[in-house]
Amino acid sequence: MKIGAWTAVAMLGLTSVTLAQDGNTLSIDGETIVTEAVAPAHLENLDTIYSGWRFRTSETQALQIDDFDNPAMIFVDQALDLFEAVDGSEGKSCSSCHTDGPEEFAGLHASMPKVVDGKLVVMEDLINSHRQDVMGAEPWKWSGADMQAMVALIGLQSRGTPMDVTIDGDAAPFWEKGKELYYTRFGQLEMSCANCHEDNYGTMIRADHLSQGQINGFPTYRLKQAKLISRHNRFRGCIRDTRAETFAEGSDEFRALELYVASRSNGLHVETPAVRQ
């Protein structure tokens, strides 16, 4: 198991970062979150899947254990206000329709993305279509603060629920497209997602401890950027780092990639909003 290689590096003293795997159990306010699971059957090259939390330093891990320490919660609070805020030509707020509050969305995040009327839909699409079509409000920018705060609030309602996206039926062609993207070696460095996150997770690439690139914790709060990071923003960053032309946030390519990557997380608990370095 490649995770073991990390131990060797730490002992060689090449890095001062503490052993992330010491903290094997993630328990948030008494609720246990599964960070390791048997890989779903469709994953040919992995036996076990791990949450990105398992690859972080104990300092970063600790920030996710208590919601009072989790910096992402400030944004979740802002989203609670946005949920009540009237916006747009119809004089409505989210809560005008969703009278039971965000709790109504328990479980939704764990099943996203999904196909609706032949279109592959991710959470940002659901939020913006309700804003535009029902509220008569302006759409939010994909990686904007309002949008990602709302994605985090809705995601939080599924925390502790296993990821379970559908990959067959209507979803199959999108899933296949996403899988193809995952294994394509992009850019002048000719690297695929799989090169880093499937073949080499658990090892160091320069100063970074490579995880499996799972998305069960998104949007994640990144300490480096001090804000919530969307899935598509993370995908862009990783593709840019191969010296490639990336795809746009909200592109069909990234929707398909999101479905495929989400399916690689099937079985891990939703951790939204996670904290990363």
């Binding site: 890095t15 992009f186 850019g187 460095l189 000719e190 090892t203 840019r240 032309e245």
Partner: protein, 157 residues
């Protein structure tokens, strides 16, 4: 007569050296993954090579550990440690590996450092934007490859 022959022979060699400045990335000749002749036509500078190991488009220690460079933090673990690499590979093989590792190691994750075509969605360096369409520069120049190779041949155990 021998003398004259020798002279003209010498003249031919000089001429060859003068024209064979640089091998283009698209014209490198690989034999079993190895490249025999200097890509720049010049010898490499090992101290410049050591710098390239840690910077810019070289950045070899992102993936490889090198004990001789132990003062540089955060050495990666994706490829094998390069200690003693000159005992395992000849200079020509090392040149081939640094030029285009995928010829020696099929499907290697190691980037091809002296290659200018055949990329998917080639970007404009690390901007995330498309490559402008001008001439594609390899990750390392011919001379930088030679410098790195000159450094690698010093890694004996």
């Amino acid at each position: 007569m021998y003398f004259r022959l020798g002279l003209s022979f010498a003249a031919v060699i000089c001429a060859t050296v003068a024209v064979s400045e640089e091998v283009k990335p698209t014209e490198v000749l690989f034999v079993d993954g190895a490249v025999e002749a200097s890509l720049s036509g010049q010898p490499g500078d090992p101290s410049s090579g050591a710098d390239i190991m840690n910077k810019g488009a070289g950045n070899c220690i992102a993936c490889h550990q090198v004990s001789a460079l132990a003062h540089l933090p955060f050495q990666g673990e994706i490829g094998p440690p390069l200690d003693g690499v000159a005992d395992r590979w000849s200079e020509a093989e090392l040149r081939g590996i640094v030029t285009n590792a995928k010829i020696m190691f099929e499907d290697s994750m190691m980037p091809s450092f002296y290659k200018t075509e055949g990329f998917i969605r080639l970007g404009d360096e690390y901007t995330g934007k498309a490559h402008g369409g001008g001439e594609v520069q390899p990750l390392l120049t011919a001379q930088q490859i030679e410098d790195v190779v000159a450094y690698l041949v010093t890694l004996k155990e």
